[in-house]
Amino acid sequence: MDFLYSEDPIVACSTGNTSNCAIAVIRFSGFQDLFVFNKFLSISANEIEPRKARYCELLDGSDVVDQVVATFFKAPRSYNGENILELSVHGNVLNVEKIINLFVSKAGFRLAHPGEFSYRALKNRKLNLSQVEGLDLLLNANSNFSLEQGFSLLNGRLQQSYLDLEKAFLNHKSSVELSIDFLEDVGAKESRRQLEETLKSFKNKLNLLYYRAHGDSSKLINPEIVLIGQPNSGKSTFFNFLIKEDRSIVTEIAGTTRDYITENINVNDVYYRLVDTAGIRKSEDQIEMEGVRRSLAVVEKAFFKILLVNPFAFNLDYLNLVKDLHFDLILFTHLDRPGFLKEWQKLWQHPKFKDFFQKSAGSIGAESNGSIGAESSGSIGAVFKNVHNNQWLASLNAENPVLLKEFNQMVNKKYTSLVEQQPILLSRHKQKILESKQLLDEYCQVIESEEDISIISSELNNIGHCISELIGIVSPDDVLHNIFDNFCIGK
């Protein structure tokens, strides 16, 4: 975070710059005045009026580099409160790079760090902490829901509900103070009435936020669907089966680790990251163990977990590794292999597997009946139990739409049920709300057992500190580190 105190003029491409496109926007910020652009533009700086688009040529000495549209935002009336110039240039990656290099080498600009434009907006009071957090969420959103919540933070709506909570807190705090400093004026009965009423209202407001914060909504920010299973359990086949359906919108993300590969899939307009983990198995090999541990960690925080089981080659010890994960779907594969039914029944009726299934799938019992078909051909054959509605389903090949349809429904149902609660996504906010809630519970216990109002008031102050942090009255260092480290470059 060494850029915190630097005020150099900065430049970056504000639109995506990993692939060629028609137009890219290069943004310059923090320069003294437009004079610095004079020798690079075919028009004089005086001709560029604030907030009016202006077509001109971009020059490097006498060479015309590109034809651009320049828009000037004069400080302080700009996104981040500094002088900003935006050049819309032709969006070829090489072109963008060439132009940026021109200004870095010849005009004294330096490349912006991730999040630096927004950081300056924060510094110049154009955005508050919660808005920056919202922006982060908005820019990196994978679903409409996190898109919306990001925007709700950015425009202050969520912040308003925190401010309302703080107001309810202050009302209760005031009534406590009233009972100390003005008891003679107000009278004991009225004082008690106010104490109870304000506490009730504060509790209600906090409980509503708590309801939105306590669920496992972090999985909604970048929802992942994870496949795990022993080697040769059919993970890759199922993976391919899922992505084949909508090849055109899939973008391959370069694997950051060799432990798993990922693709994006779209289910009912929500993007999910589909993750195929390396086979998780017990191993004596230290390095291998590390891989297993990492796979398990990925599975743990996933939004939707699928366990693939090949009944022909299933090692029951494997269950020890995955017994604490709550799977959304258990998929039996190799349906098309002769003798599937027999192998499957053997496994299914094994006490160890039964036990696992009961635990993993919560309340769902292990019934052995179901419509299980067997066909000898097709790219995938599977039988699976939908742990959400307790139904057995079988699908034999990719051409059979039932499997995909059911799968999509399952994923969407889980997503919708989580989103319906309007969960709060940001972990800092969640943490403060949970903490406030816990302190409130403790406070309510203190009220029951303690008659000393100054102790009660002191306990109440602890909740106040927590709420202050929630609304952003907080030492910013830690929060900023977290945010700007994650920022996409340019914004």
């Binding site: 009071r125 902490l129 100390i180």
Partner: protein, 613 residues
């Protein structure tokens, strides 16, 4: 003229002036003068005839630990003692003493007259100027002084209102002094004038006390002054009485509201929200007709009583009707009508921690002229100004009272860091450190400050032995272990969950730590005064809570010390106009100061907290 020359001269003989004169004159090498208007007694009580109260009792005990005069006078003139908030826990318990106001004033005069290096001058000040020293012209002579402490109360350009009647004056019984500007052109007024009011006084013999609820004096309340025996009473004790307004009282007021100078525009000054006139109550809480009215004795021999809670500036006939509508007061006669007074106040943001005017070294302001209300607040400031003027003259470091350590510190910091919108009164809620700033531990909190004065009087010896005994017994409590077989536990039917130290035992919920400790020290045959026992038991009880709150404080302090650039704040588009105006006025340099500014919205704080400037 040698006798016209002082080291410190105090203008005003109210509670601030008297306290300043008393402490300054303890420095025997200095010559002190106090100028006060002829015709009113020193330290008189023109409003409630009582000393102490919630938050204020703490100040009086702080003054006692510091060697002030108010606690001594209050004990001596006390005619009814009470502990407020008795059922609410030790930290917020406060002592309040009804005083015989005539005797209080008389005792003040006796005490000051006894002091050889202090001269009392009964004259009216006409003009003040400064060359090397301050030159004070009165109606009959001219005085010089190195330091000047101004404690003129409500007399700066004071104006009285009773219904449509108006006159110049700071009180019903005497004239006012001139405008501050004509006294001293370089000193800034606060932009708004303040207003305060007082209720009508009632003739005691015309009140039917039998219809009212009696509140007798509590003989278990400790005196303020530590050198007095804890429960000794110097005067016969008297009672207060509780009356209540009713719907016809409120009708009378409601129908005549437009006759009140505060509602028809005659008074434009700002009164305190916490001390509303009965007109305010009627208009602000129209649904409530039942308001408490405490009928307080003004003195043993005084003919009048003080009905606390119905301060008013309504016309005289309306005041009569209103009073007579109250049960018990049907035939009550008014001896002095209630009135409101408007007055100028000094811009206290121009003062430093010594209450010295920043741009005019040697000039101090204390008391109601600083926009505070209350005798105790005035005395606390008088002490700070008087002691600090004397410390500077004797070549010592001035005292800087900390808000973490005393209500006097809370008050001074609030005054100098903020322009008030209304008269300032201390509440316990103003302190962030209420569990620690209590009545019982005033000596522990302030003995160090007292010591810095370098005066070796009985107060210092008492403080030193108190602190020493405190640590000895505290040590004992930490290392004395008991279990259920212990004789003390048996004889007091204590049921301990396990073997524990006495310090831990005293923390057990549902035990009264003061009582248990008293018994325990008796059992050990250790002789300790009740003030020490209370301090030990209560400090021990709150120890854990104070530490817990302290952790949160540290976190906050880190944020509070963050530097900010107020100039950038007032340029920001995201801060409301109102907040900007306040920021511009106060010019905060840290987040902590910004937070203290009244009316700064949480949204603004959240915006600023995001990043330091």
């Amino acid at each position: 003229m040698k006798s016209n020359y002082f080291d410190i001269l105090i203008i005003g003989g109210g509670h601030a002036g008297v306290e300043a004169a008393y402490i300054a004159s303890q420095f025997q090498s200095l010559s002190i003068g106090i100028i006060t208007l002829p015709g009113i007694g020193l330290a008189s009580a023109p409003c409630n005839p009582s000393i102490g109260g919630v938050g204020k009792g703490q100040v009086v005990r702080e003054l006692d630990a510091l060697g002030g005069l108010m606690p001594q006078l209050a004990d001596k003139a006390g005619i009814q003692f009470r502990t407020l908030n008795e059922s609410k826990g030790f930290a917020v318990q406060s002592t309040r003493v009804q005083i015989d106001k005539g005797l209080y004033s008389k005792f003040a005069e006796q005490e000051l007259t006894k002091i050889p290096n202090l001269q009392i001058i009964y004259q009216k000040v006409l003009r003040i100027s400064k060359e090397n020293d301050f030159i004070i012209e009165t109606d009959s002579s001219t005085w010089n002084s190195k330091k000047l402490i101004v404690t003129v109360g409500t007399f700066l350009n004071g104006k009285l209102h009773v219904g449509p009647e108006q006159k110049e004056g700071g009180r019903h019984d005497c004239e006012s002094s001139n405008e501050l500007l004509s006294l001293f052109s370089q000193v800034k007024n606060a932009p708004k004038r303040f207003k305060t009011g007082t209720p009508p006084r009632l003739l005691k013999k015309s009140i039917d006390l039998t219809k009212l609820e009696e509140q007798p004096s509590d003989n278990l309340v400790r005196n303020f002054h530590n050198l007095n025996a804890a429960f000794e009473r110097h005067l016969p004790q008297s009672s207060c009485y509780l009356a209540r307004t009713n719907s016809s009282t409120m009708d009378v007021i409601g129908k005549n509201l437009e006759k009140s100078p505060m509602y028809n525009g005659q008074i434009t000054a700002v009164g305190a929200r916490y001390c509303p006139s009965i007109e305010d109550k009627a208009s602000r809480y129209p649904d409530k007709s039942n308001h408490h009215v405490f009928i307080e004795p003004e003195g043993l021999e005084e003919e009048s009583m003080y009905p606390s809670g119905i301060s008013s500036s309504l016309p005289k006939d309306v005041q009569e009707k209103m009073v007579n509508s109250i049960s018990g007061l049907e035939r009550a006669q008014i001896s002095v009508y209630g009135y409101a007074v408007e007055y100028d106040v000094v811009d206290t943001t121009e003062l430093n921690y010594s209450l010295e005017y920043d741009d005019i070294p040697g000039l101090y302001f204390a008391g109601q002229v600083n926009g505070t209300s209350g005798y105790e607040e005035a005395a606390g400031q008088g002490f700070a100004a008087g002691a600090n003027a004397a410390l500077i003259l004797t070549g010592k470091t001035p005292l800087r009272f900390s808000r973490n350590n005393s209500y006097i510190g809370v008050m001074i910091e609030d005054l100098i860091s903020n322009l008030r919108d209304e008269p300032y009164r201390l509440f316990t809620a103003r302190s962030e450190n209420r569990l620690f700033i209590r009545e019982d531990n005033a000596i522990l909190r302030l003995f160090n400050d007292r010591r810095k004065l370098g005066l070796k009087t009985a107060v210092d010896f008492f403080n030193d032995s108190f602190v020493e005994n405190y640590s000895i017994i505290k040590e004992l409590l930490a290392h004395y272990f008991l279990d259920n077989n212990h004789e003390f536990c048996k004889s007091h039917q204590l049921d301990l969950p396990r073997r524990m130290s006495m310090a831990e035992l005293l923390k057990q919920a549902k035990l009264n730590p003061v009582e248990i400790l008293t018994q325990f020290l008796l059992f050990l045959d250790v002789d300790a005064p009740i003030s020490l026992i209370r301090c030990l038991a209560i400090s021990n009880k709150y120890e854990g809570y104070i530490a817990k709150a302290g952790d949160h404080h540290k976190k906050l302090e880190k944020l509070d010390s963050m530097a900010i650039d107020w100039k950038k704040l007032i340029e920001s588009e995201n801060i409301s106009f109102e907040c900007k105006a306040r920021i511009k006025k106060i010019r905060p340099s840290s987040f902590g100061q910004l937070k203290l500014i009244e009316g700064i919205r949480p949204a603004t704080l959240a915006a600023v907290a995001g990043k330091s400037f």
